[in-house]
């Protein structure tokens, strides 16, 4: 570290910076100049009477103030509002009547506590009404409470688990302890082994809880709060956007090497950045994790914080004697610690890499790996690592919901101590590595992928010169810049390769004898239902039952010596065949019954036998995230690059720079989108053709029982065309959204945040099970479940697309470049 101490040379450098100052009008440098007056001693003199406003901010506060950019504020406001909105949507089904609901629950629980006979009568009455409804013997009538979104069913669904836990908690815990004692005292279980130690830990943790009294009191709000997973997703997105730029400002303005040699530009600067990031991280985590409490307080209200946490259904087996308040403090602390590490990792990656995109990429890979890890099944060698996935850990309550331990080669290590140890190591690394990287002379060139000049061949350079933009029309130039840049072409090819790989796995035919026989039958019966085919099926059914009957008779004949082995073998093989085809044949019979059902046959045309497996996979395909991400990357820079390079102001004054360029950009974007859609749809279509009989396209759509809900009297091919047109429309809407936002946002980071908010978040949330987001998600168009049901999304996204195109025209025509 000695070489970084203030030396004469460094003083000289400060003087040099001071002399260069009039030419480097950079916000960052001004800030450091203000934060560290000693950097430019030659120029500035401190006035005799310095006002409070003039006084420079300490470095830490200066770093802190950098988070207060307009982009960050807007993004955080959007995500924060989304967080509140999700909490409101998830818990607000009866918010106007939450008081009545609380009263009803409390009354019923009081009845349970003080007048058990009356409670039992109420429960019995409810059960009778429910049974009557179930067996279609009458209408269900709410008698205890009847408000919008909440009735007797919901009331008993809320109350019964409370009374059940109040009665049985002690018994359940004793069962756990007894079972653990029994298992650990089993002579077959070695002392010191994982299983023994695990049981001992269970006894240690749960025995003190077995006398805990769980009151039969209403639980309001807490179950809903602790089960919410959306805040952590939004928080992770906010963290990615906010903290990835901590170093990139300095790096983009190429000032970091200058800062390195200034007095406070290295270690103090790094320390300030880390400290400011840590403070912002803590504040953000608290903001996102605690803000739903305010919403739930309105929509549901809360039961007392002093209630034992074991009273909540999800935490019956929490191994610690905690109140809900203590549990809340603990989970939020875990989330704060975890997101602190996550945010420091984002900061560090931002310091290490040159751009936000690789930072996003690495972290998205890490998060996806965690999600993938959480889905490992028990026979997977990675099953033991499930506890380390970020998705579960970030929820906070995961660690305290029940006792958890790690099995390291048959030895027990408690999950919490292990995570604390790992967390401390990670913290030390994430706090230390920025200094190690920041103090290295070549630190900011570490991950540059640019080739050294000497490695570029002369020939290639000449080629590059020959490719001149002015030789192209405006539209041609835009095409070459939007879609046909070598890097974009490469990216498209990679995405196409990934799509082919994924599609190949997705459309892979089912394996196993059942499917083999079924597809064989369908190939044989393919086409309209005819008398001959009906006879074939009936003949096969007769043959199957005959085989079973023959076998029983042959068994006796063979035993009695009335039948030769060869004949018996043949009959046995026939019986094996009957065994094999019995179930597929039943399915064929079901299909025949469906196709000959008068309700279907008289109403719809071209009903045929067909194996719809492949085409149904296409119609039920989940949202193609490869396509989504590819279009986002290709189109996000469409308008932004003109703002970023400052070329917008030149275009603004040029003859073809406004409307023609605008039109060319949109033309290039739409044509590029259509081409990419065509390629991706082509991959799917090829897979369908490869794995299915293509003649089924001429068959009636209603030949497929699963498509009955559409009620469309058309062929499979016509439906396929309609389906693909909806997907094409969805792709164009996505193009309009991404490119339109590109014209509005002017900055890549803002662009990605906006696309995340508008396109990805609803899609992700609907994928994660938040059904309410399905209708507003672009997935409704890119992967429609039913083209007849996509009308709302078509109009909605169509309007959004037109609006964004129009707004982009207005923005492009009026906006000026803001130099940074």
């Amino acid at each position: 570290m000695a070489e970084f101490k203030k030396t004469d040379a460094a003083d000289a450098m400060d003087a040099l910076i001071a002399s260069a100052m009039p030419y480097i009008k950079n916000r960052e440098l001004e800030e450091y100049e203000a934060a560290d007056p000693s950097v430019v001693p030659a120029k500035k003199t401190v006035p005799a009477r310095e006002t409070r406003e003039d006084r420079p901010l300490p470095l830490f506060f200066r770093e802190l103030s950098k988070f207060r950019t307009r982009f960050n504020l807007v993004l955080l406001a959007v995500l924060f509002l989304a967080n509140l909105a999700v909490a409101a949507v998830e818990t607000g089904s009866y918010w106007q009547n939450s008081g009545e609901v609380r009263d009803a629950v409390t009354t019923l629980l009081d009845q349970y506590e003080n007048d058990r006979a009356a409670y039992d009568a109420s429960a019995e009455d409810y059960e009778e009404r429910r049974q009557a409804l179930f067996y279609g013997r009458g209408e269900f009538e709410n008698r205890l409470i009847d408000v919008p979104g909440y009735g007797d069913s919901a009331l008993f669904r809320d109350v019964e688990p409370i009374t059940e836990r109040s009665r049985n908690y002690g018994r359940d815990i004793r069962r756990v302890v007894d079972s653990a004692v029994r298992r650990a005292s089993d002579p077959d279980v070695e002392k010191g082994s994982y299983v023994y130690e695990y049981q001992a830990q269970l006894i240690l943790h749960y025995r003190p809880l077995q006398d805990t009294e769980i009151p039969a009191e209403g639980q309001f709000g807490w179950n809903e709060y602790f089960s919410m997973r959306v805040p952590t997703i939004l928080l992770a997105l906010a963290s990615l956007a906010v903290f990835s730029g901590v170093w990139l400002g300095e790096k983009r303005s190429r000032i970091v090497n200058v800062l390195r040699v200034s007095k406070r530009g290295s270690a103090p600067l790094i320390l300030s950045k880390l400290a400011a990031s840590a403070l912002v991280s803590v504040c953000l985590t608290l903001l996102f994790t605690l803000s739903p409490l305010a919403v739930i307080a309105v929509t549901r209200g809360f039961s007392p914080l002093s209630m034992p946490v074991q009273a909540l259904s999800a935490f019956e087996f929490c191994p610690y004697a905690l109140t809900v308040g203590q549990f809340l403090a603990l989970t939020v602390s875990v989330q704060v610690a975890l997101f602190l590490l996550f945010d420091l990792l984002v900061v560090f990656l931002g310091q290490l890499l040159d751009h936000e995109l690789p930072v996003y990429g690495i972290l998205l890979v890490l998060l996806t790996a965690g999600y993938w890890l959480s889905g490992r099944q028990t026979d997977s060698p990675l099953y033991g690592l499930r506890s380390f996935n970020f998705i579960d850990l970030a929820a906070g309550d995961f660690l305290f919901g029940r006792y958890r331990a790690l099995n390291l080669g048959g030895r027990l290590v408690g999950l919490i101590p292990a995570l604390i140890a790992l967390g401390l190591v990670a913290f030390a690394l994430l706090a230390g590595l920025p200094f190690a990287v920041g103090l290295r002379a070549d630190s900011y060139r570490t991950f540059s992928f640019r080739l050294p000049v000497r490695m570029k061949s002369q020939k290639r350079a000449e080629k590059a010169i020959r490719f001149r933009a002015h030789s192209l029309s405006v539209f041609g130039y835009e095409m070459s810049q939007s879609m046909f840049l070598p890097v974009f072409l490469g990216l498209t090819l990679v995405a196409l390769g990934a799509k082919t790989f994924v599609s190949d796995a997705y459309f892979k035919p089912y394996e196993g004898s059942y499917w083999e026989v079924y597809t064989g039958y369908m190939a044989e019966l393919r086409g309209p239902v005819t008398e001959e085919k009906i006879r074939t099926i009936e003949d096969e059914e007769r043959y199957v039952s005959q085989c079973f009957a023959d076998y029983d008779r042959a068994q006796a004949a063979y035993r009695d010596g009335d039948m030769e082995l060869e004949e018996f073998r043949e009959i046995s093989e026939r019986r094996n065949y009957a065994d094999l085809v019995q179930r597929p044949l039943e399915r064929i019979r079901e299909r025949l019954d469906y196709l000959t059902d008068p309700a279907v046959a008289e109403k719809y045309d071209n009903l045929e036998f067909l194996d719809e497996t492949a085409v149904m996979r296409l119609f039920r395909q989940p949202l193609d995230y490869i396509f989504l991400v590819l279009l986002t990357i290709l189109l996000s820079d469409l308008f932004i690059r003109e703002y970023r390079t400052g070329f917008k102001s030149i275009l603004h004054t040029a003859k073809n720079g406004t409307s023609k360029t605008w039109g060319s950009k949109w033309g290039a974007a739409f044509i590029g989108t259509v081409i990419i859609w065509f390629l991706f749809a082509g991959v799917d279509f090829c897979e369908v053709c490869r794995t299915s009989d293509t003649t089924i396209f001429s068959a009636g759509l209603l030949s497929i029982p699963d498509m009955r809900e559409t009620g469309l009297n058309m062929t499979v091919g016509q439906y396929l065309v309609r389906f693909e047109l909806v997907r094409l429309f969805g792709s164009l809407a996505l193009c309009a959204a991404v490119a339109g936002l590109s014209a509005l946002t002017h900055r890549l980071s803002a662009q990605f945040a906006a696309v995340f908010a508008v396109v990805f978040i609803p899609s992700l949330l609907s994928t994660l099970g938040a059904d309410r987001f399905e209708s507003v998600s672009i997935a409704e168009l890119l992967a429609p479940k039913n083209v007849s049901g996509s009308v709302g999304a078509l109009f909605g996204w169509g309007a959004v697309a037109i609006l964004l195109v129009a707004v982009s025209a207005w923005t492009w025509g009026k906006s000026k470049v803001r130099f940074r």
């Binding site: 006894i203 028990t378 026979d379 035993r559 094996n576 065949y577």
Partner: protein
Amino acid sequence: MMKRTVCLCLCAFLAVLPVCGCRYRGDARAEIENELESARAENEAKIQAAEELSEPGKTPADSEETEEIAGAEGNAGAGQDAVTPEKHGPITDWDGITSSNYTLIGDRYYYTVQALKTMPAKGGGYTTTGVHVYVYTDLAQGGMQFVCPDPLCSHDNPDVCPFTAGGQSPCFCPAEDGLFYLGQFGGNAKIVKADLNKGTTQTVYTGRTAMVGILGSENSVVYLLDFDSVTDKNTRTTQTTYHLLALDIQTDEIRFDRIVPEGSWIVEIRSGRILCSTVKELIEYDMDFENPKTVFSFEGTDRIGDWYYDENRDEFWFNVLNQDDNSGHIFRILPDRTCEQVPVPADAVYCFQLTNTKIYYTPFAPTYISDNPYSYYGTVDYTNGKIYAVDRDNPEGEPKLVYDCAGKSYLRKDYVIFGDDLFYGLVKLELCTDFATGKEFYTFSTAGDYPKVHVNLATGEEEIFRFE
């Protein structure tokens, strides 16, 4: 200076805190260690008492000596209660008897119960799924325990609990190196090896199809049965080939893969011999399926019912039954490979169980209940709910009625008796409708969750084990 002092104090406090916590935990842990040590000693005493009791000539009545031993080895007071030989009778009565009818490892009787999980369906309403879960009853201690060693596990989700079964029947096999069982996590059947000490599971063999059988284990080898088939659409025939696989439990590799002779299925593999059944006869082969020797020939539409191998006397017991004429008899193959009928006092035997001292059997007593479109013979109660016992050494002696359902429930051939403990699957009659014809009929229902009834034959107490 002040800052530094505060920092130092804070560090010291943080350092001492875990030490205090460890000390507190350490005291509690020591108490638990002592308790577990006592419980372990009790269990060991129980086992020793059982071993003492199983010595030739000993009966539960003269087990005072055993109690003294147990009392001396266990903790004061605890050992006295622990030895309960009266409750279970001679608990080693089935030692050396192997059967495909039940899985008994040590004193643990393994079976499955079904966990039913009702969840809201995506399209509205509710959907119920069932998962078969491996459980056991320790005959010395009673009760039902999950094989999964985690008391906090919900046991109803194959993604989380590795001890869920591929089917209703338990398929278990103990070996020196762990416990092998049939598990299924979607797709082809898997043979899983569990280490109940380390709490780990590992797939050691994946079958060609969704079904693989475990035939037994011997000499560090677990025998598996797998199959594949070839279908000829023109002749509408299917040739099925069965494979006998030997899985080496040390290396988890397949030692050999031999094709079972056509038309045969393996009944038992013991001491270098394979007993196979065809529709016509029982044939004994060597381990290469060479040197076939017919040991029994079936008549008419007779088929093999239950079978037991008695290692102690090297005898193979089985019954043949015929549902066409409601006939059935018990046979045994002696060490010299001769076969003889065992004359129990019943015209026809529906099912039986063999122990070292007794033969439990149920006479064929069919009571027709209703038609059943899914069963050729209709819904028939074959047992009339009765189980008799005779001495093995005097099978023609006076039979003793050991259990009678007396119309309370229906008894099928899945019952097993260990000493005074009887287990059978609980079934109820359920009224169903044939969708094809609209006709109503009765069928036996397993109540959805395949509960197991446990009856103490000495006291008549009954309890039902089911997934809770």
